[in-house]
Symmetry: none
Subunit: 207 residues, 4 copies
Amino acid sequence: MRQIDDTADLAPQTDRKSVILAAALAVFSEKGIEEATIEDIRQRSQASVGSIYHHFGTKEGIAAALFSQGLDDYWTQLIARAQGKLNAEETIHDLIAAHIGWVTSKPDLARFLFSRRQAVSPAYEQAIRQRTADHFKALFALLKPWFKQGALRRLPADLYAPLLMGPAQEFSRQWLSGRIQLDPRIATKELSLAAWRSLVNDPNGST
Amino acid sequence: MRQIDDTADLAPQTDRKSVILAAALAVFSEKGIEEATIEDIRQRSQASVGSIYHHFGTKEGIAAALFSQGLDDYWTQLIARAQGKLNAEETIHDLIAAHIGWVTSKPDLARFLFSRRQAVSPAYEQAIRQRTADHFKALFALLKPWFKQGALRRLPADLYAPLLMGPAQEFSRQWLSGRIQLDPRIATKELSLAAWRSLVNDPNGST
Amino acid sequence: MRQIDDTADLAPQTDRKSVILAAALAVFSEKGIEEATIEDIRQRSQASVGSIYHHFGTKEGIAAALFSQGLDDYWTQLIARAQGKLNAEETIHDLIAAHIGWVTSKPDLARFLFSRRQAVSPAYEQAIRQRTADHFKALFALLKPWFKQGALRRLPADLYAPLLMGPAQEFSRQWLSGRIQLDPRIATKELSLAAWRSLVNDPNGST
Amino acid sequence: MRQIDDTADLAPQTDRKSVILAAALAVFSEKGIEEATIEDIRQRSQASVGSIYHHFGTKEGIAAALFSQGLDDYWTQLIARAQGKLNAEETIHDLIAAHIGWVTSKPDLARFLFSRRQAVSPAYEQAIRQRTADHFKALFALLKPWFKQGALRRLPADLYAPLLMGPAQEFSRQWLSGRIQLDPRIATKELSLAAWRSLVNDPNGST
DNA sequence: GATGAATGAGCATTCATTCAT
DNA sequence: CATGAATGAATGCTCATTCAT
């Protein structure tokens, strides 16, 4: 509440607040937000109910804190990885690789982030959407040069996310749920190829 | 659970059981399974609690019935639409079109089907996976000829679903949640093109 | 909820709802609304928590039901007793006697009714005030003839309740809290005399 | 509880302790003792929880300190005002006037003092009763001369408080709760007249 | 004296489910 | 088949109080 490191990244920390957050993530990832109980979190974190509420106010407050951190972490890594590439194909490949890499290295957080279903208040939902939209815009800026250069196709805005991230996203979901065994690293090549092919401006394209 | 007509389609009916099912679908779609209460369903359906339990046994029983029906309906339409096509491209296009068409015409059911998160018991979960796998296999059989013919690429099995359905699936999710405005019919062309490009065996492909 | 006898008086009944109400009254009277717990009421009533909530919705709902019944019972008896008297003095005497009589015969209800302190929602508070005002107006109508006849003094409206009921009210409070031992029946004579003297139009009065 | 200056009057002070007390009074007056939380008091007083507990030990300790001070202040003013009067009527009038004056000038304290409902421990309750009884006895001593002189009626002891203070007390309660608009100053005359008439030894009295 | 993180018993309320009518 | 009163375990949350700094 008055700690300096309020922008705490997701690296393991040991102050009570972080411990609670880590426990909550584990529980949320396992059972989903609704199914998770404060008691679950209390047991895992070894904190008291009062302490949990002292720091987060409500159960949704915990989810919100986690969500906020997670989202920023995800997008930050995505954008960092795709910056300063030499051509469109490489940019797209690295985006997908960053996505898969992030999901693979933080599966709990990914499960939590990508499976949410209006578990947060409408007000907060709005804030999240805005932030996601901003992040996506930043990511899009990275592709700007290749659009200007004519390497990438101009499409209705709503299509970019599905075409670019759809395959990787679908793969991630299935992998996170255990329905898929294939090593994500191996999948990266094909998933980024799919993204590339659906966005590349190919004069000899089959359509 | 105790009925013969488990394969009841999703056409509107007026017997008590169907009314309850329809009410449940609406409620589940709005609030999610966990958040929905029997009381919500009771109010929407104008049935009594006792009656609901008489027909479905448990809350999960309602979800299961709905899920079962929904899943079959979805796959049936998908496969029906993609049968007997003349070439690979058309087959794939029609699959995507069928998906988008189904989602568009039954948004509540789609929201319910595609947002589930282990809301059903592990046992039932298993059954569903099996059934989904079977359905997917049937769908895959439709593509068999084009594989044999060399028109489609041979890839690790786990990749087909993400590549084929990923973009459309991602688009659907966002459209169902209201984050996307673009008319799904218009999106179909690009979404199926994306699927086609990532699966087509193109000797001059960019990889 | 769908019983016919919704206007149940406060006579002992045996249906679950009445049993709960009686138990709640006892508990509220003993510890006050805030201090009373649902668990207290449950134990006394031998009902289940669910049953209590099924009938009353909230703890405040129980208090409200009790309050509503109690208020009506009190005023009804007050007015019934003071009707059709031959002169002002008798009317006033019987009003006070009725008040004391009611308090004496239903001490729990009286304690509950007269000690409330915004324990009910503002909305309900408003309704109660209106009803009390209406009842008081009805009571006032009983005194009309004696006003017209010149036997009673004309005063600012806000003074009538304090002058008429003040002494009896104060006596009741103290008696109910156990601070006073004096038999209420014996007190009645003096308390009604006080009310009479402060309202009578005495040409030779000391003011 | 651990201070010397327990007889601190109620004049505004600025040391931490007084600030807390003032904040507590405001909160208690608004929501009642039970409903008020330490957190409410902390916010209003800008003190820390620890500081509040350092000074008062328990929540009830705050209420007790307030109650103690308030009670003494009330009775002190009452008795001061009614001392040295020339006759019974004037004494009684000034008592009522002092009561109304006090209530009017310190409404929060009055609300707190007069609405309490066993919010304090039985032990403390006993102490308060004793003190109130003592104070009342002191007040009664002021009326002694007029009793001896035969101006005032001899009645059962338990009746004096209701007859003397009842109307004013009832008026105060209603005024404090906002149910009455009439200016208390204007009401004083009638309220004291009522007290006078019910106590005066009138050989030609109407009974 | 002051601070606020931590504690945990306790509470109102919810809700799936049962069952007598 | 239908009804809805009854059940009680479970849950999110509150709040007075303690105590290390």
